[in-house]
């Protein structure tokens, strides 16, 4: 009984802090399950992928209802991220767990550095700007747009003729997607990253879309959230068929993450996360050291 509650609480904590700090749940769940609870790393990664899909579906739902995500761009790139995830899911069973641990340690350091370099945001960040791992708090009704709020983005399936170039076809209002092949390549890397390490891959996708492809940050974040689900599914089914998902662990973790991420998105308006962020930079670096030790077999 205690173990179930520990898993629920651990998942909820990962959901809350991931949501507040803009981390995908996987960066927190994988170390929790492998280092703190002692599960084999592959099982931890598999269970983390289930949690990533839950948060992706919940957040993508809200972003789609708000027409913030670019569905056409997301579907184009997720073909490549899912392909990367397929390869990553297969490779994950060919390499030693210590290599996976070393890769995860590198990821943790990268995330910690990214968090340290991030500009401080004051409390009151709107749900539309919430990053990966956050489930936007309130889903508006369809009528919200018709009741006076001008839509911010053209819907993906508008009845207008398909634009002549593919880049134009997957662009949105106010921006033209550029360097599509680079975006596709980045998506493959994101998919590999997701499948090998049990994370959403937003840390790759968002910068690629925003900095390389010229997509606005908010749209990049929302579209990345949309893509995470099917990308994670492409590798999660491999872990599932290979009996790496224990439902007695995955269930409480997924439920906890869902509840925690929902709570975190509501707290984000009231909490000043600046101190929390620096605390987590320290925690991530400490976890990176632990993962490195695991990789070294100590």
């Amino acid at each position: 009984m205690t173990a179930v509650l520990v898993l629920l609480a651990g998942g909820a904590a990962a959901g809350v802090f991931g949501s507040l700090l803009g981390l995908g749940g996987g960066v927190l769940i994988v170390p929790l399950l492998s280092l703190a609870i002692g599960l084999p790393l592959r099982e931890a990664i598999a269970i983390s992928l289930v949690a990533v899909i839950v948060t992706s579906s919940a957040s993508a739902a809200v972003y789609l209802q708000r027409h913030v995500a670019n569905l056409k761009l997301g579907m184009t790139l997720e073909l490549f991220s899912a392909s990367g995830a397929l390869v990553g899911g297969l490779v994950a069973f060919l390499i030693d767990e210590r290599v996976l641990a070393a890769l995860f340690a590198v990821l943790l350091v990268w995330v910690a550095l990214s968090m340290a370099r991030r500009r401080d945001a004051a409390p009151g960040v709107t749900a539309d700007t919430q990053p990966a791992g956050a489930i936007p708090a309130v889903a508006p009704t369809e009528g919200d747009h018709r009741a006076g709020q001008a839509p911010r983005l053209v819907p993906a399936l508008a009845g207008a003729p398909v634009p002549a170039t593919f880049a134009a076809a997957i662009s949105g209002p106010g921006y033209l997607v550029r360097r599509v092949p680079a975006g596709m390549a980045g998506s493959v890397v994101a998919g590999l990253n997701s499948a090998l390490l049990g994370v959403g891959g937003g840390i790759v996708k968002v910068p690629v879309m925003h900095l390389v492809m010229g997509v606005p940050l908010r749209t990049s974040t929302a579209t990345s959230n949309l893509m995470m689900g099917i990308t994670a599914v492409a590798s999660a089914v491999i872990y599932l068929v290979r009996d790496q998902i224990n439902p007695f662990v995955a269930g409480p973790i997924a439920l906890g993450v869902f509840a925690g991420a929902s709570l975190g998105s509501r707290l984000a308006h009231r909490v000043d996360v600046r101190v929390l962020r620096w605390l987590f930079v320290a925690v991530l670096l400490y976890t990176a050291v632990e993962m490195t030790l695991k990789a070294l077999g100590r």
């Binding site: 173990a3 179930v4 789609l64 073909l79 899912a82 508008a158 099917i230 995955a250």
Partner: protein
Amino acid sequence: MNVRAAARSGPDTAWAMEAAIGRLLVAGTWIAMTLIAVGVVLTLASGVDPLAPGAVAPFDPGSIRSALVALRSEGFLWAGIVLVLALPIGRVVVAGVGFLAAGDWRLAFISAAVLLVVLASVGAAIRLEG
């Protein structure tokens, strides 16, 4: 909502289609979380220790229904997890049908290709497992 009609009848209904996909994900997520919550409660009630070496319930699609009927925790947990995995696939299917209905063959083809990649994952995993 009729996806084909929505896609053909203009931007207003296209907005509605994105909203409809959103509603599908919301409803599916809540149903999945409810199934998992019931499974977690049953796990607590049955005293199963999820971290004990013997606490395993291998994935067997054929046994989920009987486990649900018998109110066994693993039935609800697996049903919830399978639904979680199915939701993004459902989203791609709905969007693909929408693109097809809108005459956007490129995106319809891409949607089908995404589904093929997922199918290939399942196939590759089964082949490796066998």
